[in-house]
Amino acid sequence: MSPAALEKEIAELERQIASLKQMADEHELDVGAELRKLEVKLERRRRESYQNLSAVERVQLARHSKRPLTQAYLERAITAIKELHGDRAFRDDEALVGGWARLNGESVMLIGHQKGRDMKENLRRNFGMPHPEGYRKALRLMQLAEKFGRPVVTLIDTPGAYPGIGAEERGQAEAIARNLREMARLRVPILAVVIGEGGSGGALALGVAARILMLENAIYSVLSPEGCAADLWKTASAKDLAAEALKLTARDLQRLGVIDEVVPEPVGGAQLDWDAAAAQLQAAMTRHLQALTAVDPDTLRQQRWQKYEALGAWVERQSKPRRSGKH
């Protein structure tokens, strides 16, 4: 069942429960037994359908229009952000936000992609697709955090880095590449969390961390299922096949050793209860950040390097000797 159909059924059950309660109030009837039956059904329906979500359904949830965005977590899990603006070279990219923030009272540098809630905000936020100046702002803030010995927390939620003329002119590739190298070198803890869409290099440019968390319904992929379908299946209609094949769910990534922990969402998805989603994320972030801040800077970097150096899946075929070319 698709998330849409699931939501419809859940909404219908919720409506039935509400009207039953109302009826009971109005007519002073005892509907306790009937009510409990409906509630149990609702709960079961939520869990059952939720546990067996396909990759495609996770993609839909990750992009759900009511899913909490970076801003939502900033208002809940991470408080009192003092937003900082600009890359000091070109402009302020509002597809990516950052600044000093407090997590359980501790000062951290928070950096995250920011999608828009509506069309107007999306135009300002460019649908959460940063230009090079966004990534350069992010790097500036990370190095600011390093200067004062504060940890960096990144929230990843982007369809990808923006593919456009200005982005190419100003070096989108260079900006991403530099972040990858400089994040590897950073002498303070980095904790990365994929909260929604982890879209390729545009996500990775905030994602080089020894610890990476992922919300249960977030996705993280080398490219979108739509892009993959068009490239490999030669038809956009193969996007469901591509979504499965790409292994882009949180569980898949944990299995592949890319992420370290899957953070549970409220049953049905984070869009149903922002507060609960934020509370669970906050607990996980706190735990991991505590562990990271206990480690000295050199070891932190070593751990980061070791993590990435081990990533990949190759086999070694024996027998072929080293070749020495002579022409």
Binding site: E168, L180, W305, A313
Partner: protein
Amino acid sequence: MAWFRKPKQKLSASDRRDLPSDVFDKCPECGEILYRARLEQNLFVCPECGYHNRIGAEDYLRLLLDGGEYREFGLELRSADPLEFVDLKPYPERLAAAERQHGEGDAVRTVTGRLEDIAIALAVMDFSFIGGSMGSVVGEKIARLIRVALQEQRPLIIVSTSGGARMMEGILSLMQMAKTSALLAQLHEAAIPFVSVLTDPTTGGVTASYAMLGDVHVAEPGALIGFAGPRVIEQTIKQELPGGFQRSEFLLEHGMVDMIVDRRALKASIAKLLRHMLNRPEPAAAVSPG
């Protein structure tokens, strides 16, 4: 032989009749009819207009390394197909076909050798192996090469050509960007020179990682270099792209590469750069064109 790629532009039927295909070629840029042997001698650069035809990894090894001699690493590495990926055909079949056709195990060759007597570590990508895409094997081979460069204090040169990350290895392909960049972070801190050579075409995840992390960026003339491919950009902005967009000359103008170097002067140019970064004198007798 595999090391000449046919020009992109097709000859018309009448042209084809006139030209014995193994003797003559028509330059896709200026249309000049060229004697194949002369073109080959000229490193597949059109002697008339300077158009750089694409060449393979073996050609770069030969043109950059003293005596064409090298020691190659990582020949035993093959992709483990971590996603058990199947699109229109299974990924292992694509790999096997590429290897049969190509004679190589993946899209990069990694060697040590000497360039104008400087001991270097060299990686050369090959676009003809699944679009020069970067998966686990490309990432691991480059990682191992950087470790050799670190251990033996060898300057690193990477000749890139790639369509980007390899889709069939999913997220693990993406992670190769971070992996190679983490090793380049160590090379950077060890102050070992890294010259990135960008050839036609270099896009996607390779550009957005090691190809743009050189101490010096050297591009071949007219090479397509970018983050997003032109097709993706056109679809996004729904307008036609200006001429010369994402070509080497455009990148030079926008400050993304340091210089554009003719293939025939590439070796001498890199040698000069390395001697500066290594603080070595220019050889007295050398009269080099770059």
